[in-house]
């Protein structure tokens, strides 16, 4: 199984290049961004909403994330990035996936009995 997992990671790295990935944190409400599609997300114990986001390869998107109750984490190991989602702030995540595939993310700030179920994924189609 470890071999399969390693193989899957190699495939992911091969087909899912993310260009211009950037993260910004701002106080206050999300600002509209000209160009990229904006997708709103919330984080609360113990779920992201939505926890599965459909993207298209080559599409630029901005994910605006509001945490409602805790400094949740958002770790995206396949992209080598992670965020702290601070309540009262909007955290912006800009993505441009290059090819189809799945990108998992997980809360990596222990938030209580249910933390282990707090995860989600981006599903990128052609």
């Amino acid at each position: 199984m470890r071999t399969e997992d390693a193989s899957r990671r190699r495939v992911l790295k091969g087909v899912l290049a993310v260009a211009g990935a950037a993260v910004f944190e701002r106080s206050g409400m999300a600002q509209s961004v000209a160009g990229p599609r904006t997708i709103e997300m919330t984080a609360r114990r113990f779920a992201y909403e939505p926890n599965e986001i459909a993207l298209r390869a080559g599409e630029r998107v901005v994910i605006t994330i509001r945490s409602l109750d805790f400094v949740h984490g958002m770790n995206i190991p396949d992209l080598g990035m992670r965020l702290d989602l601070v309540p009262g702030r909007v955290t912006r995540l800009e993505l441009q996936p290059k090819a189809p595939g799945t990108i998992d993310f997980v809360c990596d700030n222990f938030c209580g009995d249910g933390h282990e179920q707090m995860h989600g994924r981006f599903v990128v189609s052609a």
Partner: protein, 299 residues
């Protein structure tokens, strides 16, 4: 009777399910002080992830599993010189009163261990929601070091920070602690989370674990025993050996083997399957370490 003879007897009795020599412990330099006390063979016991207070289908016997494990340890043919618990003593709760009640109950149960030298460390379920406050009230400091018969033991706290960081203060302490040791000294690190990136998608990592490993790398004989992942797992990072322990509450799937890290289902036909604890035998002042995996209840 030598310790290895006890192990042989345990194996004959059906209690030993795994035993092997471990990499990561080589011969130290002749005549060099290792950890400041008398060398000699000994063994200790590692228990982990007892999650006292858990209630759920993954272990319908949760109220008695820990007590059974204590009885099994007490019935070992020869008593260990000490016992370590590598975190998640209790199952997490948002209620500070309930957290303290669970910690106190856990402490009361393990007080029945006949071996009275017991070393504790927290897991994220014990310490992350209050940065170790309740844990410290019951068990003291969350990171520390001690020496035993030529082996230097270091307990590393990678859970009191909910973000799984060891933190700059503790890393500075670790650097200072290591500075006095000979590079050939046998070192055993006890911690809860893996210090390396075992499975970041499952939060099975320590965010600044690489910094701790960098501090340990100059030392020739380093072995890490940890918990968190509720299963036996063995991995090398360079010459450093890492060995995770089984849980005493429920088993988890192999790293990355399925989409989510949900507990493996309880098997009523084989209670405590996948659960257990281990003995670790140090021979010749840490020149070799051997692990023997034991079941919750002896056959």
């Amino acid at each position: 009777m030598q310790r290895r003879d006890f192990l042989a007897l345990a194996a004959l009795g059906g209690g030993a399910v795994f035993a092997s020599g471990l990499a990561g412990c080589a011969t130290r330099a002749d005549g060099m002080a290792t950890a400041g006390n008398t060398a000699g063979d000994f063994y200790f016991v590692q228990l982990s992830d007892t999650h006292w207070g858990y209630q759920g289908p993954a272990n319908p016997d949760a109220a008695i599993t820990l007590r059974k494990a204590v009885a099994t340890v007490n019935a070992l043919p020869a008593p260990p010189e000490f016992i370590v618990f590598t975190g998640d003593l209790t199952h997490t709760t948002d209620d500070p009163v309930e957290r303290r009640r669970r910690l106190a109950e856990f402490k009361s149960i393990v007080a029945d261990l006949r071996v009275k030298t017991v070393r504790f460390m927290p897991g994220e379920h014990d310490a992350s929601l209050d940065r170790g406050a309740a844990y410290k009230e019951h068990f003291g400091e969350t990171f520390y070091a001690f020496d035993h018969k030529g082996v230097h033991f270091i307990a590393v706290d990678n859970v009191s920070d909910p973000g799984a960081r060891i933190g700059d203060e503790q890393l500075a302490w670790l650097r200072t602690d290591l500075a006095r040791l000979d590079k050939q000294a046998p070192i055993v690190v006890l911690t809860h989370r893996p210090l390396f990136d075992l499975a970041p998608k499952w939060d099975w990592a320590t965010r600044d674990g690489a910094q701790a490993l960098e501090l340990l790398m100059p030392f020739a004989n380093v072995t890490v025993f940890y918990g968190h992942i509720h299963q036996e797992h063995h991995q090398m990072t360079g010459h450093i050996a890492h060995h995770s322990a089984k849980s005493l509450i429920f088993a988890l799937p192999a790293p990355g083997s399925q989409p989510n890290r949900t507990p493996l289902p309880w098997d009523a036909s084989a209670p405590y399957k996948g659960l257990g604890f281990r003995e670790i035998e140090a021979e010749e002042a840490g020149r070799a370490l051997k692990v023997t995996e034991l079941a919750v209840v002896r056959a």
